[in-house]
């Protein structure tokens, strides 16, 4: 029964579900490495195309999530090697790099989890909340936040870590439990 579930991503419909489930998280994940939103999307799209091409070659007991993250990591590292060259090239192709920084993604509908997070953020100590929002809402870098508030980068780091830690504790009930859903029962 579980095995048939594991194979759903070999069909187009199942693959679409898999894609939509993991796309954003994987993009967020490689962003930490490549530090460029467009490049992150390129990497993950490429990853899924490759995954689709090889879908019939995977062993039945593969942990998809672990596979995707590992592959994303490798491809991102590979991407970083090409990145300098590509970056040069992009300078010519992009009219203004700063546009990418100015542009802001579409505010999506607010999910239940987002509401809970917003409430938890509101309850953070004022300074910590301010720092967290400067990073998440205004998209400022640690250095910029530090300069703006006249504090050290280390303080920004600590405050960000503490904010994240608080959210993790407060919202533990709303976060996915430990399941690597697809491979459970197969191992």
């Amino acid at each position: 029964m579980i095995v048939t579930l594991a194979n759903t991503w070999q069909t187009k419909e199942g693959f679409e579900i898999l894609f939509k489930q993991h796309y954003e998280s994987l993009c967020d994940f490689v962003f930490g490495m490549v530090k460029d939103y467009d490049a992150s999307e390129d990497v993950i799209q490429e990853l899924f195309v490759k995954f689709w091409e090889k879908r019939n070659d995977f062993p039945d007991d593969i942990s998809i999530k672990a596979y995707l993250y590992r592959a994303a990591r490798n491809m991102a590292l590979n991407q970083i090697k090409h990145f300098e060259i590509k970056n040069d090239f992009n300078l010519f192709n992009r009219e203004e790099m700063s546009d990418a920084e100015q542009s802001i993604g579409n505010p999506a509908e607010t999910s239940e989890l987002q509401k809970m997070i917003a409430q938890a953020v509101n309850k953070l100590p004022p300074e910590r909340k301010k720092i967290f929002l400067m990073s998440r809402e205004d998209g400022l870098k640690y250095k910029e936040i530090a300069e703006e508030l006249n504090i050290s980068i280390k303080t920004v780091e600590n405050q960000m870590g503490k904010a994240l830690s608080t959210l993790r504790t407060e919202l533990s009930d709303y976060l996915p439990a430990i399941i690597i859903a697809i491979c459970i029962g197969i191992k």
Binding site: F92, K141, G161, P176
Partner: protein, 334 residues
């Protein structure tokens, strides 16, 4: 968080997710993540919190899916566009930016195979050899393949951006009235300043800079990565200088590289500023108009009027043109 990985805590994760982690920190986090499924799951939970804690969505799943769906629906792909874009930069093209002031004397090639001239707006085109060229306003280029010398020769007045197709058998030479550039390597730009000095910037690769009046190769200079050559108008000499990396950047900022204009949820003033730059016009936004309005769309080869119509209708605004200036107003102002 884990005895084995003392450096991995919320700070490290927050740092990584915000793109602030350095290579060592990234590696440590990766090792931690891969050491167990629990760690991976824990990371994914933080990541979820992180992405949901911002209202700004950087990634559009639906759009990405249509792209990927298109790619996997094609039976056999000829090449891998992801890697191509990287290698293209290294191998397939040579990129040149040239600024040369308009001289009274017209550049002429006895029988140009191809000539384009721009008037009040930028113009892009492909040369017969496949090279891409974008002419800034009031510029002109003539191109011919010299079958005797087996060279590709372009003569330029004004400013131009080139993306030169690689062809090692047939050299590509750009001539201006004062000096010229022969493409030997990968990427460079030429820039002529107001006092008619010509500046050549090399980003990577090699180019040869020569003086037009001097016999070729007697007065020339090869410059490479990170260097800048200056052809002095006053005494026809070439000087080599170290180049600031930012030089390229500034040059390109003033350009529309192609006529595809994309706005990704930009604020109205930023949208208009971009249009002003691309179409060389003045656009004034009325004080009564909400500056927080945002706009997203992409236009390819549309006229300014078309673009303004779409934007204003979308945002319930209006626009009028008086002289060279466009005025953006609220709709009910009419």
């Amino acid at each position: 968080m884990s005895d084995q990985y003392p450096h991995i805590d919320e700070n490290a994760i927050a740092k990584y997710l915000s793109g602030e982690a350095n290579a060592t920190e990234i590696n440590e986090l990766m090792d931690w993540m891969e050491s167990s499924d629990e760690n991976l799951e824990e990371f994914i939970r933080y990541e979820k919190l992180w992405s949901e804690s911002s209202v700004h969505k950087h990634f559009n799943v639906q759009k990405a899916w249509s792209k990927v769906n298109l790619r996997i629906s094609k039976k056999k792909r000829r090449f891998n566009p992801y890697y191509l874009s990287a290698t293209a930069a290294a191998a397939a093209f040579i990129i040149i930016v040239i600024f040369v002031q308009f001289f009274n004397t017209k550049p002429t090639i006895s029988s140009p195979q191809f000539a384009i001239a721009s008037t009040n707006s930028a113009l892009n085109s492909t040369l017969p050899d496949g090279s891409f060229v974008l002419l800034s306003k009031h510029s002109k280029i003539e191109y011919a393949f010299d079958s005797q010398k087996q060279i590709r020769l372009a003569k330029l007045s004004g400013k131009a951006f080139f993306s030169v197709k690689r062809d090692t058998k047939h050299r590509f030479i750009v001539e201006t009235n004062r000096g010229g550039v022969e493409v030997l390597g990968t990427k460079f730009s030429i820039n002529e300043t107001k006092n008619k000095d010509v500046k050549v910037y090399v980003l990577s690769g090699r180019v040869k800079v020569f003086l037009v009046r001097a016999p070729k190769d007697t007065l020339s200079l090869i410059i490479t990565n990170g260097e800048k050559a200056l052809i002095m108008a006053s005494n026809d000499t070439i000087i080599k200088q170290a180049q600031k990396a930012s030089a390229f950047y500034t040059i390109n900022k003033t350009y529309t590289i192609n006529k595809t204009i994309t706005f990704r949820n930009m604020y109205l003033p930023a949208v208009m500023a971009k249009l002003e730059k691309c179409y060389s016009v003045n656009i004034k936004i009325d004080d009564s108009v909400d500056k927080k309005l945002r706009f997203s769309s992409s236009f390819k080869d549309n006229s300014l009027n078309e673009i303004l119509t779409v934007i204003t209708q979308t945002l319930n605004l209006d626009y009028t043109k008086k002289g060279d200036t466009y005025y953006i107003t609220n709709e009910n102002d009419e």
